[in-house]
Each structure stands twice: as C-alpha cells, then as structure tokens.
C-alpha cells in the first residue's frame, strides 16, 4: 500500500473514479503533499504544458565581430594590488568594442533601427505566442527597448575581445534581417567615430599646405613684378657691375692724375698735352660723380632696390620652407590616419536558422523545477518550525 510521492501528479488526474472506493487514503495523501503539488508540481506542469503546446518557435541568428583599430596602448595603469597579486597579466580593455556593445543595447539604436526595420511587426507575427510576443501594438520607445533587450543579446567577450550578437525572432529570415541591420548600425557607429577621430588632423594639415602654397605663389609673383618694374633681373649683380665700373673709372682718374703730376715736372703748364690730360681728368671726375649719383640718389637707387629685392628673396625662402614643412606634416597625418582607421571586422555573418533553438524548454523546465524544489524545501522547513511553535 505504498504510493510513492513521485507519481502523485499522474494520480491526481484519475482520482475521481478511485475516490469512491478508497477516498480517505488518497485524499489524505493528497492533503499531505498538497504543498509540494501546489508549489512544485503544478508550476512545473504548467511550464511543460506551455512549452509543449503553446510556445512558438524562436529562431536565432548569431553574428560575431570585433572592432579593429590602432592598438590603444596596453600600458594601462594597473594598480598596486595587481602587483601584489603576483602581477597577473592585465589585458587592456578594448574600449571601442565595449562602446559598440553599449550602443547595441541602447535606446538610441532602437529608435534609429525603427526607421529602417519594422521592429514591432517582426515581434508581433501571428505565429508568436501570447507570452513571448510584444504585447503592445504601438509601444513607446522605452517599452520597445525593454523588449528589444530581452530578444537581442549583445555580449562583449573580454577574452577574445569580440562582440557577439544574438537575435531572436519568430521567423528565421526576420532574425537574419535584424542581425544584418544591427551589424550595419554598428558599422555606421564605428565609421562615425573613426571619421571624427581622423578627419580633423588631415583636414588641418591640408589647409596648412594650401596656405603655404598660396604664400609661395604670392612671393614668386611679387618677385616677378619687381623684376619687371625695376627692369632688372638681378639688382645685386647689376649694382655690383656699376660699382665695378665706378672703380675702374676711379682707377683711370688716379692714373691720369699721376700722369699729369709726372708731366708737370718737365713740361710747361700750357703744353697742349697737359690740356688733354686736364680735360680727361675733368671728364672722368664728372663721370664718376654721375655714376655715384645714379647709384645712391633718386628713384631706383641702389640701396632701396637692394632692400626691396632682399626682402622679396627672404619672403620666397620662408614660403618655400613653410610649404615643405606643411607637406611633411600632411604626410604624417595621412600615415596616422591609415593607422587610426577603425572598422568592424565580421567574424561570423548572421545566418538563417534552419531549426528553432529557442525557447530552451528542457533547461528552463529543469531549472524551474530545481529552484521550486529548493524553495519548497525551505518553505516546508520554515512552516514546520511554525507548527512546532504553535503546538
């Protein structure tokens, strides 16, 4: 006459007929185990019923990616305790992947996604069961985000520093579509970050180069117009040439003077040769004076021309140097940009599920049963304590 408690659940269905024969024994047993039946067996049976009869298939689509970028320096400050704990290897947290993961869980993304994908109808397909589907037909962004976080799981795996994305919907093609859209959204995010990060450096360098180029051109033009106006290709050399000619004239003058002195020693002053020499001296003198006049006074005088010319030459030199340095910095900026380029590297592409992997019926039922059993155990012990006190 031993009825083990484990078959109570099935006995409970057929007692009506048997109740006539031995009502007291069975009823007593039922009464004795009613706590267990109510707390453990009934919810588990309901869960089994739900998962076998009601629950709609959910199809998962999984994608995995990581964000590639410049190595963000793994000399993170690691704290004194790290050293104390034996200097275990500390990994730098790849912030960009983390950022993408945060983004994938954000309301911002849900709002953005809603523009391109009809999220509400995807999660309100007719085949969806009452418990798993999205309840509201016009959900607010917050409600939709809450539901979204239930159905879309983005996890950051710090070991491989990848982000894994798991999308569940009621049709395989919906899952794939949604996963693709999410990947695209995260790619857009990464591109935005990346553009903002590098756009400035190169743009600045390019602007710098433009300024330098304009300066170089302006300096060349100024030089050309100076040459045209001054009718001189190279004033420095011209001035040198005229200085030389003045020197030669002075040489000739002093020579002629010396000759005159020499001839004065044995000739009469009114000798015609003396007159010739005097004439030459006078003409040389005036010539020298005229030359000097031309070099130092008036428009196109040597100092001014020279100063202007030298200024222009200096300007040209500076402009050349500025251009050279601007070009170098543009090149380094370009190289940096190439290194700082962030992009989403897909490891696994989202696929269309061939069979429904969700909901996880067995796991859920078994864990529910186990938890309820433990709760029942604690509850019955506590109630036994109450009974003991009351007695």
């Amino acid at each position: 006459m031993k009825v083990s408690p484990s078959i109570k659940a099935f006995d409970a269905a057929t007692p009506a007929a048997a109740a006539q024969r031995r009502p007291s024994a069975l009823a007593r047993k039922l009464r004795k185990w009613r706590g267990l039946l109510l707390v453990v067996v009934l919810p588990t049976a309901l869960a089994i019923g739900y998962f076998t009869a009601v629950a709609a298939n959910q199809y998962a689509s999984e994608a995995r990616f990581f964000v590639r970028g410049p190595s963000s320096g793994n000399n993170n400050s690691m704290g004194a305790l790290g050293a104390m704990l034996g200097g275990a290897g500390f990994k730098a947290v790849p912030e960009d992947s983390m950022a993408v993961r945060e983004f994938l869980q954000s309301q911002d993304l849900v709002r953005e996604l809603r523009k391109s994908v009809d999220l509400v109808s995807i999660w309100r397909r007719p085949e969806a069961d009452l418990f798993a589907r999205l309840w509201l037909s016009e959900p607010s962004a917050e409600m939709l985000t809450r539901y979204y976080r239930r159905m879309v799981v983005a996890e950051f795996d710090s070991e491989s520093s990848t982000v894994s994305l798991l999308v569940r919907t009621f049709r395989p093609e919906d899952s794939k579509l949604l996963a693709e859209a999410l990947l695209r959204a995260s790619e857009n995010l990464v591109n935005r970050i990346s553009d903002r990060q590098r756009g400035d450096a190169v743009g600045n360098a390019r602007r710098e180069v433009e300024i330098a180029e304009r300066r170089v051109i302006a300096s060349r033009e100024a030089l050309t117009s100076f040459r045209q106006q001054g009718r001189a290709i190279d004033p420095t050399r011209e001035i040198a040439a005229s200085l030389e000619s003045v020197g030669r004239l002075e040489d000739a003058l002093s020579q002629t003077r010396a000759e005159l002195q020499e001839k004065l020693a044995y000739m009469r002053a009114d000798n015609p040769q003396m007159a010739v020499l005097r004439n030459r001296i006078a003409s040389l003198d005036t010539q020298i004076r005229a030359e000097r006049e031309r070099l130092t006074n008036g428009r196109g005088a040597a100092p001014e021309v020279l100063a202007g010319y030298e200024r222009l030459m200096l300007e040209r030199e500076f402009a050349d140097r500025q251009l050279a340095s601007a070009v170098t910095s543009l090149e380094t900026a370009r190289a940096d940009e190439a290194r700082q380029h962030l992009y989403v590297a897909r490891i696994t592409e989202p696929q269309e599920a061939e069979s429904a992997q969700y909901p996880k019926a067995t796991f859920t039922i078994v864990s529910l049963f186990a938890v309820l059993l433990v709760v029942y155990g604690i509850g019955s012990l506590i109630f036994a304590g109450f009974r003991e006190h009351a007695s």
Partner: protein, 275 residues
Amino acid sequence: MSDASSLPNLPARRARRHWIIEGAAIQWRVISALIMREMQTRFGRHNLGFLWLFLEPLVLGTVLGLMHSTHGRSMPGGVDPFLFSIVGYVPFFMFRSVVNRSGTALHSNLTLLFHRQVTPVDVLVSRNLLEAAAVFGVILLVLGVAIWWAGVWPADVSEIFFAMLLMFFLCHGVSMILAAGVANWEGLERLIHPVTYLSMPLSGAFFALAWLPPELREVLLWNPLVHLHEMIREGMFGHAFPSYYDVGYVVRSILIVNLLGLAYLRGARRKLEIF
C-alpha cells in the same frame, strides 16, 4: 513585554487562529525575546566589545588604504584607495562576524533549548539578526565617515543595501550549516576562524575583478561572496571599472545554503538533546 498579563488569553487566541499565524507569531515572540537576551550577553557586560566592532574595520581599512597610497600608484578608474579598502572590507566584515559567532551559538544557548518553543533556528536567527544589525550600524557609520572624508558620493545607494541584504541571507545560511556542523563535530569550531581569515583574499574584498585575467575571474566567480563584493563596489563607484556579478547566481546559492542549513540544523537537533 506584558507576558504575565497576556498569558491567560493565549489559549483562547490559539483556538481562533490558524496554526500558521499562531506559530509565526510565537516564533517571532521567541526570537525577539532571544534578541533581547543576546543583546545583554553581547554588549551588556563590557563596552569594549562594542567599541572593537567599530575599530576593527576602521583600522584594517586605514592600514590597507595607507598601503595603497604609499605604493604610489593610483587605483584604476581614479578611485580613492582608502575608500576602496573600506568598501571592500566592510561587507566582508559582516560575513566574518556573523559566521564566526555561529560556532558557539548553540552551545552558549544550550540551556534555553530545553524549552519546547525555543529551537536552534530561533537561536541562530536572533543571533544573526542582532549581529547583522550591529554590523550594519557600524557599516553605515564607517562608510558615512569614509564618504565624507573622501568626498565621493555613492553611485547607487539602493544597490549597496540590496547587496548587504543578500549578504545577510547568505551569511545566515552558512552560519546555520556551521552551527549544525559544530553540534555534530566539535572540532569544526576551531576551524571556522582560520578558514574565514584565509578566505579573505578569495572573497574579492580587496581587488576588483576587472583587474584580473579572465581565467582567474571565472574561478573566483564561483564564490558568491565575490559577486556581492562586486555589486557593492558598483553601487559605490558606479562604472569607474567594469563589475562582474550575477544576482541570480547569488540568490540561487542563498536558497541552497539556507535549505541545507535548515535541514542540517533540524537533523542536528537530536544530537543536541543528548546533552
């Protein structure tokens, strides 16, 4: 309480009420009476015990904080080292003080257990409630001072309280198991103190899991205490560094530990009644 005056009424009331309500009410009365009694034995005689309750976390936190500061390197996430040590030690302090006192709980109340309505569970519940309340007061004070001193406001106070509540239930379960274990084998009591001391580095009190390599982190996360410490740190410092915890896991371990504790204590009762 007016025990003498309410005694004549008791049978009449018992007849009217369901045994669950009646039993719960009686158990509650037993527990509150035990708390009053415990309060006398714990803090009544000499106040040094009470003072020590305050001093211990302060001294340990200060020493550790100083160690960190003199080490020169700053903590990751720009966290104040003194506050970090205090926040780490203080919850562990609750665990230690509750668990350490569980070994002697039954033995020192053995005479009371001769009364039919005093059960070992009552003794442990009252003892742990009192201890937790005292420790909680100390924690509030110490944390308050530390927060005022460091000038950092906790990110989420409710999370800290929730973690402390979970910590209490966990400690309660563990203390029940240990009390029953001591009743079965007295040598266990000698082991409780050293083991709680040695478990300090494994409890996640003085380091954040974010600093550790993932393999080590996985191993440490088997310990529910580590989850609770991570939770409290998150409640204190927000997201200065990533926190790793799973409330579901903690709740499950609390359930299991409490079930084992209640059942074991029930079984250990027979051993006790021999004395």
